[in-house]
């Protein structure tokens, strides 16, 4: 989706410190040239296929469809990307752009750690130095991803300020970029931040929706009637939805993290239920969760990747115009949807993606059986093993860890 000088409606823009201005201008120009260069975009496509295994399948779900008794359910399998999430699409694109610009170092922020792992992977493959900022609280929730980032040669910096989650990591990444604007590229992981990031990341992710379009026509001879995606920063939602933006028959539904409930600090609902309000922070204007003094609020979600205070300006705009319908699913609904999908189809979604599933499960039974619904499974759930084990109160997991520790301490 093309911006109007960096803006999408009243959202977007480039509200950055002066120190970053020249570097941001250089990026704008590089992206402008590269995105019009067929050879570059073909190189991105080739790498998406050869390194990440695209296209990812569109999987029909007969069992889930029977269980729900409504529309026919299909899953877009972004979990089958290399690294296990849609984050790969973006890092391949930006990574190749970094090479084209001649920079040698990338900085990234990460919430759940999926973007961190994807950044570390592409840095290793393209021979780039890589520093990743991650909230200390998120590191506690997602250490296995941190482990892999380090194994891949990246430097992981724990961020201990503020709420110690994604938003604090993003601030810290901006500070790092400010210290070396000419030499480093800030490889942001979602369709947020100053221009051209929202537009650029959404474009790299739009491969998801383009594939869904072709696969739908091929598999059931029509476009989907409805598409569901979870919305944290918003890159997987923008990616699957933007290629359908002009198809009025395709209803687009974004599902935010309802967390523990609507109290401040208990959720990450920016666009539904009138909980967010317009603001300008972290380089761009969008709907933020903030108090009456314009201070950004703490957020919560069972899924670290949705635990973010702002949202893509593209989605804020499309939510405002009504093109995308926004809703939310709370932690408990998400765990239920997660287990339903596991048992019905043998697919383990990331807890982030399970929000899209939860939103869809709620509505599918009311749709007629000739309708087709696509749910974006933005990532796989292996990374969530600790959180899920705790949520389902698995009796064996704790003792297993204790035995593991005892063995390690003896060795």
């Amino acid at each position: 989706m093309q911006s109007d000088n960096g803006f999408f409606g009243r959202f977007g823009g480039s509200y950055i410190p002066e120190i970053l201005h020249a570097s941001q201008r250089a990026l704008l120009e590089a992206w402008h040239e590269a995105s019009a260069d067929a050879e570059f975009m073909a190189e991105v496509d080739r790498e998406l296929q050869q390194y990440s295994g695209r296209p990812t399948p569109l999987t029909p779900c007969p069992n889930l469809t029977r269980l729900l008794g409504g529309a026919q359910v299909y899953l877009k399998r972004e979990d089958l990307n290399h690294s296990g999430a849609h984050k790969m699409n973006n890092v391949i694109g930006q990574g190749l752009l970094v090479k084209r610009m001649g920079k040698k170092r990338i900085i990234a922020e990460t919430g759940a750690g999926q973007h961190g792992v994807a950044s570390a992977l592409i840095a290793a493959r393209l021979g780039l130095e890589c520093t990743i900022y991650m909230g200390a609280k998120d590191i506690e929730r997602q250490y296995p991803n941190v482990f892999w980032m380090k194994q891949l040669g990246a430097t992981v910096v724990p961020v201990t300020s503020g709420g110690q989650t994604l938003r604090d990591a993003l601030d810290e990444a901006l500070r790092d970029w400010s210290a070396d604007p000419a030499g480093s590229h800030y490889l942001i992981g979602t369709a947020c931040g100053c221009a051209p990031y929202p537009e650029m990341v959404a474009e790299f992710q739009s491969v998801i929706g383009r594939e869904v379009r072709a696969q739908s026509l091929q598999q059931f001879g029509a476009l989907p009637d409805r598409i569901y995606a979870c919305v944290g920063g918003g890159s997987n939602a923008a990616g699957i939805m933007l290629p359908f933006i002009d198809d009025a028959s395709v209803e687009l539904v974004g599902v935010e993290a309802g967390g523990r409930g609507p109290a401040p600090g208990d959720h990450s609902i920016r666009l539904s239920d009138n909980l967010g309000s317009p603001g300008i922070a972290q380089g761009f204007s969008t709907m933020f969760l903030q108090d009456d003094q314009g201070q950004l609020m703490d957020t919560h979600s069972i899924a670290a990747g949705l635990d973010y205070v702002g949202v893509s300006p593209i989605l804020a705009h499309l939510g405002e115009t009504g093109r995308i319908r926004m809703t939310a699913a709370n932690d408990d609904e998400v765990m239920q949807a997660f287990q339903t999908l596991l048992r019905a189809e043998g697919i383990i979604p990331a807890l982030e993606s399970a929000h899209a599933v939860a939103g869809a499960l709620r509505e599918i039974p009311t749709l007629s059986p000739d309708k087709k619904v696509v749910i974006n499974i933005s990532g796989r759930g292996d990374k969530d093993i600790f959180n899920v084990a705790s949520a389902v109160q698995d009796a064996e997991f704790g003792p297993f860890l204790q035995r593991y520790l005892a063995r390690e301490l003896q060795a």
Partner: protein, 275 residues
């Protein structure tokens, strides 16, 4: 000529350099921050920069970031901050007070009504690090009407064409960031007397740009007063600015001194910088 610029020129007649000291409103408490501001103004600092805290101060380093987060525990409001500054401005008419904050608290208050309210409170100018010139047309207009100065920043990364553009748009004074990075930082990043700023790239490909050259380049473009900030902590650093800049900004250094030894230590630092 704006009244802020006139004030700085008048002060500079018999002083080789002026000091602008920075205090975070509400740190460690609202009363204590106001007491520190009073101490500094009583001691004769010419300019006081009051930072209204924000949760996500992305251009600030660890010292100011921490102070902002502590200050927010007091749940400060911008309206009360303006009232408190108004009192200071009445009590210390010989100095000028600038309001620094990030865009969102100001946006929330209302960018259209803020300039008038701040001007009424006796504030001479705004420093808003995340508001770039090209997105500030409306704000600049409101500021002009309220006769208050939006103060623009220049950095060692600012290309010549943009420097010209900013200098042409600026009034009151210019804030010249002396190095890359955020506020505070360790001493190896700081300016040292005579050695200039380390402007080498991450991969070391660029030449060091002397502070004198950087300021001289700006001086060619503008007759406005120049304030230099980011990393100033010692008297030799301030002395090195004599003849090249009009104002030395003391931010994180002052905060660190305060954290070590309270208001007395902060005052001692300011006095030592004048010697």
């Amino acid at each position: 000529m704006s009244s802020l610029q006139t004030f700085i020129h008048q002060q500079r007649r018999d002083k080789s350099i002026l000091l602008m000291t920075h205090v975070v409103y509400g740190y460690p408490s609202i009363d204590e921050s106001l007491a520190l501001m009073r101490d500094l103004l009583s001691d004769g600092v010419e300019l006081l920069e009051v930072q209204f805290p924000f949760t996500d101060p992305s251009a600030d380093g660890p010292s100011i970031l921490h102070a902002c987060h502590q200050a927010l525990q007091q749940r400060p409001t911008l309206a009360r901050c303006l009232e408190d500054i108004a009192q200071l401005a009445r009590d210390f008419p010989a100095s000028r007070i600038l309001l620094m904050s990030y865009l969102n608290p100001l946006y929330r208050y209302g960018l259209d009504r803020l300039p008038h309210a701040a001007s009424k409170a006796g504030i001479a100018g705004f420093i808003v690090p995340d508001l770039p010139l090209e997105l500030a047309d409306d704000f600049r207009h409101s500021c002009r009407e309220a006769q208050i100065e939006p103060i623009w920043m220049l950095t060692p990364e600012t290309p010549p064409a943009r420097m010209q553009q900013i200098c042409a748009a600026a009034s009151g004074m210019l804030y010249c960031v002396s190095r890359r990075g955020v506020t505070g930082g360790n001493s190896t990043d700081d300016i040292h007397a005579g050695t200039g700023i380390d402007s080498t790239n991450h991969d070391g490909s660029r030449q060091a740009l002397a502070l004198e050259d950087y300021l001289a380049t700006i001086r060619v473009e503008t007759a406005l007063p120049l304030a230099v900030g980011f990393g100033i902590r010692t008297a030799p650093q301030v002395q090195a600015l004599h003849g090249q800049a009009d104002i030395a900004v003391i931010g994180s250094g002052l905060l660190d001194a305060f954290n070590l030894g309270g208001r007395n230590a902060a005052l001692e630092l300011v006095r030592s910088l004048r010697s």
